[in-house]
Symmetry: C2
Subunit: 219 residues, 2 copies
């Protein structure tokens, strides 16, 4: 069957069309994410030490970590997802997403590289961040900074590689803006805010430590 993706000359032998409606795919991902976020919010509410921002960050790290591991992990290690005949949900997700960026169905090297790194390294690290915030670990800020910077680097590679290759991978402006631009934008502005916050927290901690060291030398 002929595939619907752009560019039209992309070769996808034995392509099987997406079988679930767009609304179903979005609803399953949305509701599953909402469930995860609600559970983390509920359980973290039991701790007195955690303020609302900590709990919000735990929700983000649980959501993004599971997205990296399950959704992006499936993609990275399933080179033939576009041939799936069973209507398997994760294959459906990437068949649908490829409408906004056919480099996924086409198995572009830059995409598979970034998604592999994201799913294998940043996914588990994100779940570690949930734990680190919950337990108030000293490495919590530097860990969150490291993952967020990795996410920013990955998203930058994602967009720069698309521009270098002609930026013509979406079926229509709707898919271009809804999938390629809007969906990915969350992995720009959220990591950016987290990086800025961690940078400030860490710089302050280093500064106060070096000042207290100077004081103890004077004594």
């Amino acid at each position: 069957m002929e595939h619907p993706y752009i560019p039209r000359d992309l070769k996808l032998p034995d392509y099987v069309p997406v079988s679930l409606p767009q609304s179903t795919i979005l609803a399953v991902y949305g509701l599953a994410s909402l469930l995860v976020v609600s559970l983390v919010w509920l359980f973290s509410g039991g701790s007195r030490r955690l303020n609302k921002l900590d709990r919000l960050l735990m929700c983000w790290w649980a959501f993004t970590g599971l997205t990296h591991i399950i959704l992006e992990g499936y993609f990275a290690f399933s080179p033939e997802f576009y041939k799936d005949k069973t209507g398997f949900f994760l294959a459906e997700v990437w068949k649908e997403y490829s409408k906004g960026d056919s480099r996924y169905a086409g198995r572009d090297t830059a995409i598979v590289t970034v998604e592999g790194i994201t799913s294998v390294l940043e996914g588990p690290a994100s779940l570690l961040a949930v734990y680190a915030i919950a337990k108030g670990k000293a490495y919590s800020y530097i860990l969150q900074f490291a993952i967020s910077l990795g996410q920013l680097y990955g998203t930058l590679v994602y967009f720069v590689a698309a521009i270098l290759d002609g930026d013509n991978f979406a079926m229509s402006p709707f898919y271009y803006y809804a999938y390629y631009i809007f969906a990915n934008s969350f992995w720009i502005w959220i990591p950016l805010l987290i990086c800025i916050r961690c940078w400030k927290k860490i710089s302050l901690a280093v500064q106060s430590q070096s000042q207290s060291q100077k004081k103890s030398k004077v004594r």
Copy 2:
């Protein structure tokens, strides 16, 4: 003229062969780097506050920063360097290096993306790190951590993309191990050591700050 690179079916119309001998190219890069490192070592020796490790790190950041900006910056923005007839040194460098990795001459998307990010963002940030260490800025550790993590991410993309594309870009095992493996290995183990050191320093500073906050609450 026919190019010498692997794979043999790589298209490089109007290719002009490398004109400087390998020894000259390596000597110029080596001596220029030695000059930079010596100058930074000498000038940083005037400050009492800087220990030998600080000064060594300043040398590294000056060397890697200038390599990113000049060498990699030239590559990222010179798509036709392999056509250069003038024997221009930076074009010669990349004609020579392409013997170990023809993705440079072939303008592979993942390579150009990573080199672009490295030269534009990590290059200037590395020079900022020289300044930050010299002045003992509080953001010194987190800045060094950020650049090193970026370098590690870039090198990881570099190697993973090569493997996905068949890992067959070197003219011979000599060029494979000397250029592709050995030369790049510096941008794995040095950033890795810096990341580990900064992670520890930062975690300690955060820990001591949170402890002193607890103490002041008890008072």
